[in-house]
Amino acid sequence: MGASATQVPVLEVTGIHKQFPGVKALSDAGLRLYPGEVHTLMGQNGAGKSTLIKVLTGVYQPERGSIVLDGKAIAPGSTQDAQILGISTVYQEVNLCPNLSVAENIFIGRYPRRFGMIDWRAMRRDAAALLARLQIDIDVSKPLSTYPLAIQQMVAIGRALNISARVLILDEPTSSLDENEVQLLFSVLRSLREQGMAILFVTHFLEQTYAISDRITVMRNGEREGEYLCSELSRLALVNKMVGAPEAAPEQGASAGATNAPQGETFLATRALARKGVLAPVDLAIHKGELLGLAGLLGSGRTETARLLFGADKADSGAIEIGGRSRSFSTPRDAIAEGIGFCSEDRKHEGAILSLSVRENLILALQARQGLLRAIPMRRQQELATYYVQQLGIKTASIETPIGTLSGGNQQKVLLARWLATEPKLMILDEPTRGIDVRAKQEIMDYVTTLCRKGMSILFISSELPEVLRVSDRIVVMRDRNVCGEYRRGELDDSSVLHVIAGEGCA
């Protein structure tokens, strides 16, 4: 731990105000970053964390406030300025170019050169080496878009690490990573800390906060609530400070075992459902009112399974049986007609329709199911939107605000609501709590389990194993695009599940 009170901060931000049309995103926000420290920024969805980061890296210009780097006031006018000043950033949504190769995404703007030309060989070599440090072994000459979100996230991190910087900022880098990757990232961060770098880190995982950080700044409603040494702040106190109420926040796991579904009727079953090169034949059954968890490592094929079930991709072979009838879905419409909903893991590309309002985004799936002509009356749309905004605690200025201006977590909630509004019989949730704050996550899972108890089936995919263990009635484990095991509640615990998904302990 390098932090000491006598040190001067590398970066000091004070009194930042930032106003968006209709929203006051930051009012008197601030932050102090010390060299050789990992500093975690915490706060509820929409508290202003990402906005603060964008202000101090030149994406937004604040109305008021000062940013002091190494004792000198700075006013970065663009991200380029910030990079030159030595601030390297990974933003919340992956901000890379999908059309460029992985290697290029890492090196763009700082190419290795030979004779004044870009040295592609050296670039690929260096990129591969850099990713190897993060234990990622992929073909770096392929376009970024051919890789799943998690890999893209790691590439973004790789890019930031490669910029020789004084300050490294990571906005929710772990939201799409699983345990292994997180640990890897942490070990890299620790070594950077040793070298005296100042690191700002945003996460909604309390575990991770306590695992890595030295200091915590809590934000609430666009203000700095306070700065604390990690060692001096208990988890409960932290949550209370984020929420701004001295009430007792439910600790994780409190409502575990919410459902206990009758193992009777099968809602849906797959018969050797497969797609070449993507998923080996899978047999899966989901019962009515059951919450089925799908566990596995990155790339184990969970998302693929979900997509086939939803008709987002077409299966090459096998069938889906619903109510005794064999079906094959070739478009999502087919699945929706059977009462299936699917909340995708990639909210930016597959979920949010950014320039449409919260209301429009929210009723979209319901309207699509009702058909073109039977428009949902405006009154009803507003009722629905208002209902879910309140139910899920979506922080938005109004239901007519474009969803693109909402904070990441709140967008996720709107998309969840989009499917809840269709009252599906089976809801497929692929990483539904990605980027959602502790409190809200708890509430959302409670809400979902309640629905489950009322008879909705849920297929739950999450990289957070404890969460999967806690809420699932049954867990199917996948590895290398195969189903490799099935466990009932209680058969697995935090440690045995790791063995199972890593491939020790099942055939």
């Binding site: 929420v243 699509a368 073109l372 039977r374 428009a375």
Partner: protein, 354 residues
């Protein structure tokens, strides 16, 4: 849950300050108003309207009348653009539908003892249906290429843009087909209640379209497909059918515009009818505030855009601008209107002032 919210506040459509200046239609309207003001100042009797032969007569009537085909094309184009597409075959469809109608109605002049006599052919209703049918086929074709084969809209419609006029000329053997059948002229130059009939057609098409947009989910779906087609598909929208629909709709609008144009000049000129109409239509849509990147669109905006263009053309003619200067004047005005509509201008202005 924990965020206390006032439902009433949520439903209030716009986040406070619904000021007039912020309305998306304010700037197109302002541009139109400025143009009209200039006309008022420079062209004597510009706003003069009189009743002649039982109908309104004057510069404004001309503008509306002449802008009618453009407004129709712009309405269709708006929907295509909202899905992030573009339709550059509009002019060709205009030529094709005008030709079909004129050929079917046709009528030739026969000299009978030195007295000209006119002979009509197919019943007009049938001819009009056939022309619209041809336009619909064109739309289906475009839609199929874009949605079915996944061609890029600009190339997909380029094919018809090139070949469509060829087809029309093939039908007429390269001749201008003159129509001698009186009732057909009503569409393009007739008057109803003292107003140009074309105006009623535009109003009707506009009303039907806005009704569809407001009272069905069409508008929502079109926007969703335009902004994020992947997400729209996952939400259960039939994206392909929707895309085919907008191209068919655009072609139908173009077909009507074609009928109007050929009815107005009482003939069909396959080579020149509707030449470059697609560019004007796109220009109208953009001047009306719709983004070519798809998503939010404004039908009223497109109508205003079309009126801006026609007013500008009319102004150039009326002011006696020499023809070689036409283009420079037009381009400078378009530049000025675009820049004045930019949000950025305000920001830059403020920054300068500060």
């Amino acid at each position: 849950m924990n965020v206390p919210l006032n439902p009433a506040a949520l439903t209030s459509a716009q986040p406070a300050s619904p000021s007039l200046f912020q309305h998306p239609l304010f700037r197109p309207l302002a541009a139109l108003a400025v143009l009209l003001l200039i006309d008022f100042a420079l062209i004597p009797g510009f706003f003069k309207l009189e009743i002649r032969d039982g109908h309104l007569y004057g510069g404004l009537v001309d503008i509306v009348n002449r802008a009618a085909p453009l407004m129709l094309a712009a309405i269709g184009m708006t929907l295509v653009i909202a899905t992030r597409g573009i339709d550059i075959s509009v002019g060709a469809v205009v030529a094709l539908s005008g030709t079909v109608a004129s050929m079917l109605i046709g009528g030739t002049m026969v000299m009978n003892n030195g007295v000209p006599e006119y002979v009509a052919q197919t019943p007009m209703a049938l001819a009009i249906l056939a022309a619209l049918g041809a336009a619909l086929l064109c739309g289906l074709w475009n839609g199929f290429l874009v949605a079915g084969l996944g061609l890029q809209p600009i190339v997909a419609t380029l094919i018809l843009m090139v070949a469509g006029r060829g087809l029309a000329q093939l039908l007429t053997d390269g001749q201008i087909v003159t129509v001698y059948y009186q009732p057909f002229f009503f569409l393009g130059s007739g008057y109803l209640f003292g107003l140009p009939f074309a105006l009623f057609v535009v109003v009707a098409v506009f009303a039907v379209t806005s009704f569809l947009m407001r009272h069905t989910a069409l508008g929502l779906f079109i926007q969703a497909v335009g902004v994020n087609p992947v997400a729209a598909r996952l939400a259960g929208i039939r994206t392909a059918a929707l895309i085919v629909f907008v191209y068919v709709f655009s072609a139908a609008c173009a077909g009507m515009a074609g009928l109007m144009i050929s009815s107005n000049v009482k003939s069909a000129d396959a080579n020149n009818a509707g030449l470059l109409l697609e560019l004007d239509a796109i220009l109208a849509v953009t001047l009306g505030g719709t983004l070519l990147a798809g998503g939010k669109f404004s039908l009223v905006g497109s109508i205003i855009g079309a009126l801006i263009i026609q007013t500008l053309t009319y102004t150039i003619y009326s002011l006696g601008v020499p023809p070689e200067v036409n283009m420079v004047v037009k381009s400078v005005v378009v530049f000025l209107i675009c820049i004045s509509q930019s949000d950025q201008l305000k920001t830059l202005w403020k920054r300068r002032a500060a």
